[in-house]
């Protein structure tokens, strides 16, 4: 693995290390780490979703190429934080019966479903699977869209605040509209 990639992963692991250390030392309650871990997962998803449409609109420059080249890492890291989020939740709940009992609450099953849908794209995120699966690979990666929306829903239902969710959706809405405008223009040129 090249040094750059190792550095990237060290950087991506820092918040997780801090959270685990906080929990192990007793400085942080598990329940206090639910927000940070979940938000990291959502933000990493935003970071993974942004460079695609931006590159389509702005063309590829050095920044966007670099960003695109780490996109898969960002996605896997998002899954890592989602897993951490789930583990913290389980530790916080303490009892399996209590976990099962609240599974049916809308605020909870949206989270579980988002995590479950992250599993297939995360499991095939390595190079060989990518080459092997070809177009199918990209199709599976698109699971991230429902995952992202479910995550925001999970968040809104838990906190009854729509601002944070909207705030995270905003950069993507901008990037998607830019891409949409760009595609429209291309289409008109072709006609």
């Amino acid at each position: 693995m090249p040094l750059r990639r190792i550095l990237l992963w060290l950087l991506l692991a820092c918040p997780a290390a801090l959270m685990l250390e906080g929990m192990a030392s007793g400085r942080d309650l598990p329940m206090d780490l639910l927000h940070p871990s979940g938000e990291m997962a959502v933000r990493l998803m935003v970071l993974a979703l942004l460079p695609g449409p931006l590159a389509e609109y702005f063309g590829t420059n050095a920044l966007l190429l670099g960003w695109l080249s780490i996109r898969r890492n960002l996605g896997v890291a998002a899954f890592g934080y989602a897993l951490l989020h789930m583990m913290i939740y389980l530790v916080d709940m303490g009892m399996l019966s209590a976990v099962l009992e609240e599974f049916a609450l809308p605020a909870i099953w949206t989270g579980w479903l988002a995590l479950a849908l992250m599993l297939p794209p995360a499991l095939i995120s390595f190079d060989r699977a990518m080459r092997r699966l070809g177009r199918r690979w990209a199709q599976v990666q698109r699971f991230v869209y429902p995952v992202f929306l479910l995550s925001l829903l999970h968040w809104m239902l838990l906190d009854w605040a729509w601002q944070p969710a909207l705030l995270h959706l905003l950069p993507l809405l901008v990037a998607w509209s830019l891409r949409g405008a760009h595609r429209d223009r291309l289409q008109r040129k072709l006609v």
């Binding site: 329940m31 609240e102 609450l105 009854w160 605040a161």
Partner: protein
């Protein structure tokens, strides 16, 4: 190499900051001087049969994160002066509201 590292560090710092505070429940409890001590909530929790996970001041309310006897996670707001249980949420779902209480 310096610049991308710095950008990455900045981005990470931004990533790790919480977006917004939750909890818009208003208890209309008046000046803090008249409030009962937060520790008084322990007795209230005990009466409910709850185990306290965390008790804190949230706006002008006392907020209690607790587990019920069956392990349910509840988030309850108490009036800091009367210590009346005003509203209880379970994973964002309202499960109890005191008669005549409006959270906003």
């Amino acid at each position: 190499m310096k610049k991308p590292a710095l950008t990455a560090a900045l981005a990470l710092a931004l990533l790790a900051t919480p977006a917004w505070a939750d909890g818009d429940v208003r208890c209309k409890s008046g000046p803090q001087a008249n409030w009962k001590p937060l520790s008084a909530l322990n007795k209230k929790a005990w009466q409910e049969g709850w185990t306290v996970v965390k008790a804190q001041v949230e706006g002008d309310c006392y907020e209690l994160y607790a587990r019920t006897e069956s392990g349910q996670a509840v988030e309850a707001f108490f009036h800091p002066v009367t210590l009346q249980k005003l509203i209880v949420f379970r994973r964002g779902k309202e499960v109890f509201r005191a008669k005549g209480f409006t959270p906003q």
